[in-house]
Symmetry: C2
Subunit: 214 residues, 2 copies
Amino acid sequence: MDNREISQAVIGRLPRYFRFLGELKDEGIERISSQELSDIMKVTASQIRQDFNNFGGFGQQGYGYKVEYLYEEIGKILGLDKTHNLIIIGAGNLGQALANYMNFERRGFLFKGIFDNNPDLYGKKIRNMEVRPMEEMDAFVRENEIDIAVLTIPKTSAVPVAERLVRNGIRGIWNFAHVDLNVPREVQVENVHLSDSVMKLAYNINRFEKGERS
Amino acid sequence: MDNREISQAVIGRLPRYFRFLGELKDEGIERISSQELSDIMKVTASQIRQDFNNFGGFGQQGYGYKVEYLYEEIGKILGLDKTHNLIIIGAGNLGQALANYMNFERRGFLFKGIFDNNPDLYGKKIRNMEVRPMEEMDAFVRENEIDIAVLTIPKTSAVPVAERLVRNGIRGIWNFAHVDLNVPREVQVENVHLSDSVMKLAYNINRFEKGERS
């Protein structure tokens, strides 16, 4: 299967399919039509069929999708049958929140270390990890086959830290710093820009109210 | 200006324009061409012109954009000249991380209260707020003109809490719970699904490596 040409929009929707299918599976539902899936997910049935066609279909006409099969196939496409080794850079509240979120582990995202440049935090236990000084990061990445680094540090430090991670062979950066990172194309970046997200919410609130008044 | 028809994709890009323009402004840059803006933002110049045309242009042909003017105009479109009153539901690490993030305040997002259902946390001071019991939430929303609620609670509690917020007149929900909320159309929801985001990262890492090997 060659899925190199699939758009980021489709890929962005896959985890959501995976989540809804997981819930259906947990409820003991075995089959679902694209129309029913469309109703609960609030996406058109044709969008669903189009998205799934990128991966060869999955469904049988007039028969619906087998929930568990579809759930597992999408999981495989997402690479959830593999495990990933992660480190967190920044042991503040956000870094700690992510370290403690058990669901990531269930999906194969294994936190191996957490780093900070504040000496007061060195050795502090967060879940099953002790906070390490930033000086140890480079060797740790190489020696522990770390493929994903999570950046929960201010934007000024995010840029040089990302460069160090790239030099040490990181494959993906999950970036919570409020800056866009310049990395070589072999390193994947997924941004979570929280300020952008709340601004978009504010815009939609204001727009709705303007619309109501006019 | 009627901007009710502007797509969520354009709106989603506005905060990023705002962020880059803010950085240019801080660097003392007064004018910028759409080509230069395109280079630093890694969006095509035609995309930039198209996006800005939704709001009546802003630019002069062959002259470029005035950075400060554009920054302020986009800020106004985003509603950043207004303030918003927020509460946080869930005083765990993520709720605390958001409460302590000063940048939101600078943009007019004012945290007024934080709630939890764990009695051990009642009265605990987080920044300038004391954690309150969930029973006080409904009255607090009405009495303090709260327009945005931030949900950092598990998905099972997120659904009934969202219903209570809607009944009490909330206008926007910033949802970090791992579930899609069903709310009336007058309530705006912005989701931050962290698991979806890290799965997308994993997919892109795997896809890149498959591509390299084939």
